[in-house]
Subunit: 129 residues, 2 copies
DNA sequence: AGCTTAATAGGAATCATTCCTGTTAAGGAT
DNA sequence: ATCCTTAACAGGAATGATTCCTATTAAGCT
């Protein structure tokens, strides 16, 4: 990987991701920072989100309504996604058991880099139409 | 939901999904069936995949390289996705514990419709570049 | 056989994401 | 402090998966 230089905009993006539990999309990050960085480009948002993910500073949570959602909190935890409103909420860490993933890796022939446990359904507000 | 009529093409799609463990994309379904159904349209593939998912006869496994992957096997199980070659493999059911999801639903205010446990990493063939 | 409307083809439209080109600016080297 | 290399960037074009639209066909009841 090439050298990573300091970048005001990327720093702001990471700060934004770390300061919210909303799991914003690229578009939402763009709109949130545009006022402070009027010449911010959407391409820059995508490029920096990809880089933050590569560096392990952010995570792709999953696709909601065709848009990827991002999380700046990298401590192991799980997510709930509302199928109606698209809200993404944090859940405590859910694991399939100690050493389970490692055993499966041996058995099925893979090395795990990451595990995601995602619950999809309806949130409180969306249950009653 | 509207009445569901018989459809040769949709039947063929479901049979294809049920007869493979490859978790094909819409494009792959299209290419697999095009020889037998020369006038098959990609729009029809997308429409029927969506309908099969609504009916609970198929599942969206997740996005790999920007393309959604589909699974015709609906018995609870998990998936491994290779980050390099994009292969999607079945794993046995992995659950976070009996009644766990229900408890979380009560605690965090949601009703779960589905749970996915996905492991991402490198498969055997891709490990050694 | 007639009727309602789901299913369809084919092509246009949408829209998230990536690519491209020229420019700017980190930050190490001189 | 100035020079140099190249990462970061804007802005806009390109890509590509998916959805939408319109006219046509065909399930499958009556």
């Amino acid at each position: 990987m090439a050298i990573v230089r300091q970048s005001k905009k990327r720093d702001a993006m990471l700060a934004l991701l770390r300061g919210t539990d909303q799991h914003p999309s690229a578009e939402q990050v763009y709109r949130a920072l545009k006022p402070d960085y009027p010449d911010l480009s959407l391409a820059t948002v995508y490029r920096n989100l990809a880089q933050l993910c590569e560096q392990g500073l952010a995570l792709r949570v999953g696709t909601v309504n065709g848009q990827e959602r991002y999380d700046g909190h990298t401590r192991p935890h799980s997510h709930f996604i509302c199928n109606r409103c698209g809200r993404v909420a944090d859940l405590p860490r859910l694991s399939p058991g100690e050493g389970c993933v490692e055993r499966l890796g041996v058995q099925y022939g893979f090395t795990a880099e990451r595990c995601e446990f995602v619950i999809r359904g309806l949130c409180k507000g969306c249950e009653d139409f």
